[in-house]
Amino acid sequence: MTTDSQIPDDLLYSTEHEWLRVEGGRATVGITDHAQDQLGDIVYIDLPKAGLAVSFMAKFAEIESVKVASEVFAPASGEVVEVNPALEDSPELVNKDPYGEGWLVVLRLTDAAEADKLLSPAAYRELVNKELGEHQ
């Protein structure tokens, strides 16, 4: 079984299904289309406040879907400089537009070399297909 979820070419991915869009010293973070599809309807997101320091692959947010509570890990170390204000009232934006309006936070990066530890779109697609295969 191969995934039909979207995996944009211009992003980096974590093994825990977060994406990272690096722009200069900052990066926008969200969860992947595959992740939101697995979670089902999202009803609440517990996001950090701006100013929080996060470290690579440490838990920084929690997403509650109708089915399950799921932790979100930081795909980069840095400081949270922006939090998506729309998600408080409309957490379903993560379902509808995980790479756009459903972004979670913006980080100011403290370690640019960490990007090497993340997955390319092709490597992430391979990971998703492998996980789908294991669930058959």
Partner: protein, 361 residues
């Protein structure tokens, strides 16, 4: 890994894009388009659930009523033909082995529908009770039948328009067998969503065509177990294995209306003894802040743990989290401010009258 049991209509659901998950040993649709859309469709119009996984046994014979009555908190002999009764199989302590519905199909002819996870247990109890009595038992789940629940304010009219207007005159909680085109359908005007509707028992071949017509008509949305769970929780309907089990009595669960003490059944003496002596009661909680209460969360009165959540989730109708929890009797009333521990975060909540939501009359 043990292999999961498969619904006869599974291919249809896969073609509609269903997300599947394991429930009670069955591979079941969790949702199709999305659990919240499906929940709202059932509240506003209609949805159709496949509940083929549920246990069902047909009992025929002169002693059927008395044998079933010896196991269950309801006395089947009191049902008129076409009637139904919700009740329990209890253990000797009055704890709930399962909750179920008994339908009287005709003279000496009964159907018992119970939870999927308890089907083997309930089947074993019935087998033991009817042994040597001449009552015949048929496990319909194993006989290739499908059970579809069509639920929602438009459900009864939709079934009437698609199959036969004959179903429109079946009163609430009643059932009727109707033969259409050589196929026998059992229509039961019962459900587990807090809405009007039918549960329809029919052979798998005819069930597929019925499901297709329902969906194609646009009158009902296919719905999965996630919506079934949020709907039953809003209606504050207990789920066995969570809100009720062998350690809880019907008194504690607030389900005394489903116990008839004036007939003899297993667990009766213990229930008589326990009546009016319960120290806890199943209560309804509504969250007063964002967050989702889940099963097993601790409930606090001030800094003291006073109970544990048995079922919790998001209520699409209220837009808040709701939960059921056993609380000391003094707290199990309306308007008590409490809090719930969500993995270290304390979420304020208050008690409300059961249910959380009921369909406006």
């Amino acid at each position: 890994m043990t292999s999961l049991r498969t619904l006869p209509l599974r291919d249809r659901y896969a073609a509609l894009g269903a997300r599947f998950g394991e429930f009670a040993g069955w591979d079941m649709p969790l949702w199709f388009t999305g659990a919240i859309d499906e929940h709202m469709a059932v509240r506003q119009k209609a949805g159709v659930f496949d509940i083929t996984h549920m246990g069902r046994f047909r009992l025929r014979g002169a002693a059927a009523a008395s044998k079933l009555g010896s196991l269950f908190t309801r006395d089947p002999a009191r049902l008129a033909a076409g009637g139904s009764a919700y009740g329990f199989a209890c253990n000797d302590s009055g704890g709930i082995i399962d909750d179920l519905i008994i339908y009287r199909l005709g003279d000496d002819d009964y159907l018992v529908i119970c939870n999927a996870a308890n089907a083997a247990t309930v089947g074993g109890l019935i087998e033991g009770a009817i042994s040597g009595s001449g009552v015949e038992m048929a496990g319909l789940r194993e006989a290739g039948t499908v059970l579809l629940a069509v639920q929602g304010p438009a459900a009864v009219d939709a079934v009437g328009a698609l199959l036969t207007p004959g179903v429109l005159s079946i009163p609430r909680r009643q059932c009727r067998e109707i033969e259409l085109g050589g196929v026998s359908y059992l229509f039961m005007r019962t459900g587990y969503t807090g809405e009007d509707g039918f549960e329809v028992l029919v052979d798998a071949d005819a069930a597929g065509a019925f499901f297709d017509r329902l969906i194609d008509s646009g009158e009902a949305l296919p719905a999965g177990l996630a919506a079934r769970d949020s709907l039953r929780l809003e209606a504050a309907l207990a789920l066995h294995g969570h809100d009720i089990d062998e350690t809880t009595t019907p008194w504690e669960a607030g389900l005394s209306w489903a116990v008839e003490l004036d007939h003899d059944f297993r667990g009766r003496d213990a229930l008589v003894e326990a009546k009016d002596k319960t120290t806890r009661r199943l209560a309804c909680l509504v969250a007063d802040a964002p967050g989702v209460i889940r099963g097993h969360c601790d409930v606090y009165d001030g800094d003291q743990v006073v109970g544990t959540v048995t079922s919790g989730g998001h209520s699409p109708m209220l837009g808040k989290s709701i939960a059921l929890a056993y609380l000391p009797r003094r707290l199990a009333r309306e308007g008590v401010s409490l809090s719930v521990d969500l993995r270290g975060r304390r979420l304020p909540a208050h008690t409300v009258k059961r249910p959380f939501y009921s369909h406006p009359e």
